[in-house]
Every structure is written in C-alpha cells, then in structure tokens.
C-alpha cells in the first residue's frame, strides 16, 4: 500500500496528550511516524496533503447510528450511511441492530461486514441482546462477538424484564461485551410522541415522562450493583434527562462501570423546537425541557458523559411527511455532529477543542474497546479527520450524502469544515 503525509497541520490527539504542530506519515493503513514540522524521517516520495491552518485529529467515532441495512435500504444503506459519516469526519460507526431482520445472528453481523456492502468507513455492528429484540430470550453473545459484534443492545426497545436484563448483563460480561440500554419504560410511554409537559399539553399530544427514562436507568444500575462483577459494563444510550444523568453520575461515584452518551440534539434543542408538529424534531427519547437540556450540557462539562453519539436515524421523506403522532422517530446526524459540537460546545460554551474531540473519538473508542482507533499514536489505524476549525458554513440537508434528509439542523450555521477524512490511510472524503 502507498503512504501519505499530512503536513503543516495542528495535531490534536487527546488520548496521546498531543496538541501541537506536527507532520504525520501514514503507511499501509497505519500511523507510521509523527514529527515536528519538516522533521519526518521517512516521508520521501509519499503523496502529501497540505494541512496548513487545519486541525488534524483522530477520525471521529459514532457509537450510535442506524445504517438501516439489511432490509431498509430505501432509508439508508451501509454505503450511503458510511459516505455521510465520512463527510462528517467519522471513520468508525457502530451500527444498531434494529434492521430487517433484526441483527441477532452471526450471519447478519457478517453480512453487514462483507465487502459487498461498500462501506466507506469502518462499520462495527452492535448485535441484538435478545432474539428479535423482543426482550424475551438472550442471544448467544460469544457467537455474535466472534462474528464481529462489539456490543449488544435492543435499541429502539428497552430490555424491560428484570430477569432478562440481569441475564444480558451477566452473559455479555462473560464474553467482554458492553450492554447498551435504550432506557425507556414503555409502560409509561404508550401512545406518546413527545416529552410530557406543558408543550405536549398545548399541542394535544400524549407525553413521555422523564421518569420513563430515569426509572429504567435506576433499575439497570441496581442490577449492575447486585451482579457484583467488575466485568459488567452498562452503557446508557442517548441520555436525555437530568435524572438519568444524575443516576449515572452516582453510579460512577459508587465505582460501577456505567457510562452514557448524549446526542447533539439533546444538548442543543428542547421540546420547543417541535414548533407546530415538526416531525424532524420527533425522536425517541424526545426533545426535553430546557432544564434537561441544560443538564446535558453540564454533564458534558463535568465529565459524566463519555461520548457524543448522533443516533443517526434516517427516514424517507414520505415517512416523515405524515401526522406527528404517526411519524417514525429519529433524525440524521452524521454530517452535523462536528459542526454543531464546535459551534456550540467549543465556541459558545468554551469546552476545550481537545475535550470535544475526545468525546467524539478517544472516549467512544475506549468505551467499546475499539483497539487502535480514536488515537493517532504511532501504530494505530490511519483514521484521520482534517478540518478547518475556524471555517463557518451552513448545513444544507439537500446536499447530504445520506439517503435521507430528516434533520432539524437544515440551514443551521456550523463551525469547523472537514477538508479530508481518511479511513485506514485512504482518503474517503474531500471537502472543498
């Protein structure tokens, strides 16, 4: 394989503690050498990218995306979803199992990883925790892990039964997999389509109470506590409520291996953004109150949040152009995450750039145990994002590489424009 040099950029590699001008040599899909500007020893003849004025960072990692294949290719394919990921600076995406069929088998896991899927960046399947994600019978995690699954979840549905969740946590721990919970006590959310509260009442919509999320997080933490097994790892997906974050914070203080992620829409938007029934503001968990949104920002600032994950959930236009209550949940997010994080977390709320990038790469890699990812230390995978941290631009959903354009961020101003995305040494996206 060929080699490539990225010259003149400012390297930020949070896990390696690097924040300095560096040249970087990529060879055979790996990081081969890092040196002060102009000091690379073995770069002769290598193709060069001029990164003057740009930031060079580990390729971003999104541990919560819906790529819709197999079975829902009209919404997204692994090819189109990973192309959108590359455009957003992501080089690794963890794909949720709520496909058709549900990814609850080694065969489906392997199908997703096959070269015929034409993935632009690395896909890491997350397999279903239970058969058909029905919450009744726990899958064979050893076989799923051997096929390539990096975690288990029934995302879209919670694992509601105490006994099944306990068994899932224990069985996953035995084979070294994390359990990702979509925390929603669905007994409290029947027929509901947005956050419970004054806005839902005004709009005449049934609401999902915050307790539907927090009570299940608390239940799960109790199960982790009872299992008394240090290998157990509970990860709470798309945390959206102050109470859930508080429960995670307390669990961590108690020494438990409990982590959580937050999606950009949950630290930026509130139920007010539903406006007059905008289905592009409908997702599950729903947009919450301003107090909950502020709690997400605080949790990012104080370090309880381990990852920013988009919950990229493409849906066809015709599926979203329906009555609010009938519209499917979810929004796309891969192309807007970096621009929103830099615009708001970094510029507006003063989170250091290295911290933001860590939440988008090093920490999610550590969380799912993705070895050699989320860092640009010598020897790691040559997954790189090169972006202009100062550039401001406007997101146009019509230009998306995803098959779907269901985003509330159409027309929003973004900061930080991706110039190149490299997956294992190959340039997979070039911005203008």
């Amino acid at each position: 394989m060929s080699s490539l040099v990225i010259r003149g950029g400012h390297l930020i590699d949070p896990s390696a503690g690097v924040d300095a001008p560096k040249d970087i040599l990529l060879k055979d899909g790996r990081v081969a050498e890092i040196a002060s500007p102009g000091k690379l020893k073995s770069a002769n003849g290598a193709e060069a990218l001029d990164a003057t004025g740009l930031t060079v960072a580990p390729g971003l990692i999104d541990i919560h995306v819906h790529l819709r294949e197999p079975g829902q290719g009209y919404k997204e394919t692994i090819a189109s979803g990973t192309a959108a990921a590359a455009a957003g600076g992501f080089t690794s995406v963890a794909a949720m199992p709520n496909t058709t069929p549900v990814n609850d088998s080694p065969e489906t896991t392997r199908w997703m990883l096959a070269p015929e899927r034409n993935a632009t960046v690395r896909v890491f399947p997350i397999a279903a925790a239970t058969r058909g994600s029905k919450g009744e019978a726990v899958n064979d995690f050893a076989a799923l892990k051997a096929a390539g699954a990096v975690a288990v979840t029934d995302d879209g549905h919670p694992i509601l039964k105490d006994g099944i969740m306990r068994e899932t946590l224990a069985a996953a721990a035995r084979v070294g997999l994390s359990v990702i919970q979509h925390a929603e006590d669905t007994r409290m959310t029947k027929g509901a389509s947005m956050n419970a509260g004054p806005t839902a009442f005004k709009l005449g919509l049934r609401g999902m109470p915050v307790e539907a999320e927090s009570s299940l997080v608390e239940r799960d933490i109790r199960l982790v506590t009872e299992l008394r097994d240090a290998r157990v790892h509970l990860h709470v997906a798309h945390t959206s409520t102050a109470a859930a974050v508080a429960a995670v914070r307390q669990a961590r203080r108690n020494g438990l291996r409990v982590t959580c992620e937050v999606a950009p829409h949950h630290f930026l938007l509130t139920e007010e953004h539903v406006g007059l029934y905008s289905t592009n503001a409908k997702m599950n968990p729903p947009l919450r109150s301003a107090a909950d949104r502020d709690a997400m920002i605080e949790a990012i600032l104080d370090g309880v949040v381990d990852a920013i994950a988009t919950d990229h959930a493409p849906h066809a236009t015709h599926e979203k152009e329906v009555e609010f209550e009938n519209a499917p949940n979810g929004i796309t997010g891969l192309e807007t995450a970096l621009g929103l994080c830099l615009r708001w977390l970094h510029r507006e709320w003063k989170v250091p750039l290295g911290r933001v990038l860590s939440l988008l790469s090093a920490q999610p890699a550590a969380l799912l145990g993705l070895k050699g990812r989320g860092t640009l230390a010598v020897g790691s995978f040559a997954d790189v994002v090169v972006f202009d941290p100062k550039a401001e631009w406007t997101y146009q959903a019509a230009q998306t590489r995803s098959k779907s354009r269901n985003t509330p961020f159409d027309g929003w101003s973004m900061q930080g424009k991706v110039r190149w995305t490299l997956s294992e040494g190959r340039i997979v996206y070039t911005g203008e």
Binding site: G191, G204, L205, R206, H273, L276, E321, V322, E323, E348
Partner: protein, 339 residues
C-alpha cells in the same frame, strides 16, 4: 449539585427556536392563536352581517367556488354546520370522509390534500383524529385550511361560536371586542379537559378578552399542567365552588374513545361533576349553560338542564353556521386581499 454547576448554567445561551412558517395561507384558520382580537372582532361582526343578508345576495359571494370537507372522524354537527355555511355563500362543497375509498386504502393526508387541490378545491375544511394534522395539510397544499377539530388539540371555530354565544347572552351581542370585553366574567369549563380540543381553543381565546377561565374536573381528566396553558386559567376542582362564581358554565363530554386505559368511576364522576337542576338553581341560577355536543344526557348534564331556560346549547348550534360563514368567506377572500 456541586458548587461549580451554578455559574456554568448562567453561561448557557442555547440556540434559538426558529420562527414559525405558519400559516402559509392568509385564509387559513389552524388555531385561535392565528387570530388577533381585531380579526376576532371582524369575524364576529361579519357573521352578524352574513346572517342578516338576503340569501339570494349572500349566495353570490362564493358562487361556484369549490370547498372540500375532509373528515377523518365522523361528525354530524360540525360537518353539517360548515357545509350549510359554505352553501349559504353559494360555494360548491364536496365531502371526503374516512369511509372514502382513498382514505380506507391508506392514502396519506398529503396525497389526499394534493388530489383535492388538483380537483380544483380552493380551500379544505379538515377534521382529523390526529393533533396537528391541519398544519401538515396546509404545509403540503398551501391552500387555505380550516381546522374543524384536530385530535385533542384545537377546534377554533367552536371557540368563536362559543364566544358569540357568550356575547349574545352577557353583552347584548356586541361584536367589537378588546382585552376588556369579558372583564369580570368567570367561565367554568367542566369535565374531560385533557382530551378536549374545545377546551384548549376556549382556554386560548377567552382570557384574551379579559375572562377568567376556571377549569374543573378530576385529576385524570384535568392534569395540573393545564394551568400552564396561558394566563387567566385556574384549576378549581370543587365544582360547587366554581359554579358559585360562574356566569358561564361549559360542560364537556367524557371522550371514552380517548381514555386509553384511564379508569374512571362514572357514578363518582356524576356525583362530583354532573350539572343537575338542583346544583344550577342553588349555586348559579343566572349562569349560561353551554355544551359543544354531542351531549350524553344523564352523564355530564341532566336532561332538565340541557333543555332548561339557562341552556344556550341550541344557540351555540345556530351561531356555528353564522361564524363558519364568516370563516369560510375569509378563507377564500383573504388571499385575494378582499377581507
């Protein structure tokens, strides 16, 4: 919370909520909030004018103009009222109901709306079981859309006809309104507030004219969050106390089809909230009794009260036609700059 949390919170300036693009069409009436008090006054006085007009003159106003009634829920009162109003202005109406084949076959609201537009419909009157459906229809068609009731959300023409009824009874039929028109008037809305679009539209309209609105009912049907609907709204769970203060009492039907598993003891409900002749005579002998219909006699009101001298229920029905004439006329003429 640790000590550093407070200063962090003060720094948060979140992204603003984008302005609403609605209504796309100036003739639409999606919510009572689309109308300022001047527009409310215009519709009230126009209703009176149209009502008094020679039918042969009146039916030239919208002669042969095409109006579609798109009804996803069955409705006798509202549909007939809109239909009579449109026809009184000379318009041609066509009814598409939930029993129509395209809807039964699962055609989307968007496609049905576009089809009606292509067939020449110039305005659509929509009744739908899903809150917010009129906004979707307006966005897809850009036609004037009149909300004839959407889910649990709003029923704006009902609030206007209720207002006309109240003004007839308490203000000699005044049709110029301002923020003080109903000052000193207490209106109690009783019963299934949670599921009621009539209650929501009235709660959004009546306080703007200075009325105090009391809402009354058990917690299952009247959650505490109701008080956040807007200014001038208060919860009073004691029906007798509310009645004692009221000049108007609006009784609502229990919407069994929307209860979704709520358990309600009907005998207990009747004991606490049924408007009986005895209650009315002893606590509010002058109050105007209203009900948007359909009435379940013997449940929320006794037959004697519904038919009694304080009842304005049939006035509400007649006022419906007058108000809807004004609203339908505005739907078609507003975009031409003629109202």
């Amino acid at each position: 919370m640790n000590a550093t949390a407070a200063p962090i919170r003060r720094q948060i300036h979140p992204p603003p909520v984008p302005p609403s693009p609605f209504p796309y069409n100036p003739g639409s009436m999606l919510s009572v909030q689309d109308l300022n008090l001047e527009a409310v006054g215009y519709l009230l006085s126009r209703a009176t004018e149209l009502e008094g007009m020679d039918p042969l003159v009146r039916d030239r106003i919208l002669l042969k103009r095409r109006i579609a009634l798109l009804f996803y829920e069955s409705s006798t009162r509202t549909r007939t009222s809109f239909e009579l109003a449109a026809k009184a202005l000379g318009a041609d109406t066509t009814l598409v109901s939930s029993l129509s084949s395209s809807i039964e076959k699962g055609e989307s609201l968007k496609d049905t709306g576009l089809t009606l537009r292509a067939l020449g419909a110039e305005a659509i009157i929509l009744r739908h079981n899903s809150s917010g459906a009129p906004w979707l229809l307006e966005q897809c068609t850009h036609l004037p859309v009149l909300n004839a009731g959407d889910g649990m959300h709003e029923h704006p023409t009902q609030a206007l006809l209720d207002l006309r009824t109240i003004l007839q009874r308490l203000r000699h039929g005044a049709d110029q309104v301002d923020a003080g028109t109903l000052a000193g008037v207490t209106i109690t809305i009783v019963g299934d507030i949670l599921h009621s679009r009539v209650a929501r539209s009235n709660m959004l309209l009546l306080p703007r004219l200075g009325a105090e609105v009391l809402v009354c009912g058990p917690t299952q049907l009247l959650p505490e969050v109701t008080a956040t609907m807007g200014p001038g709204i208060r919860i009073e769970r004691d029906f007798d106390a509310a009645l004692r203060r009221s000049q108007v009492v609006m009784m609502l039907r229990i919407q069994a089809e929307r209860l979704a598993g709520l358990q309600l003891d009907l005998e207990e409900y009747k004991a606490d909230y049924q408007l009986t002749g005895q209650r009315l005579a002893s606590l509010a002998p002058e109050a105007v009794v209203m009900h948007p219909g359909p009435i379940i006699r013997g449940l929320e009101v006794t037959a004697g009260v519904a038919d009694g001298p304080q009842s304005a229920i049939l006035d509400q029905v007649s006022n419906g036609v007058a108000i809807r004439m004004a609203v339908v006329e505005r739907a078609l003429l507003a975009q031409e700059g003629r109202v």
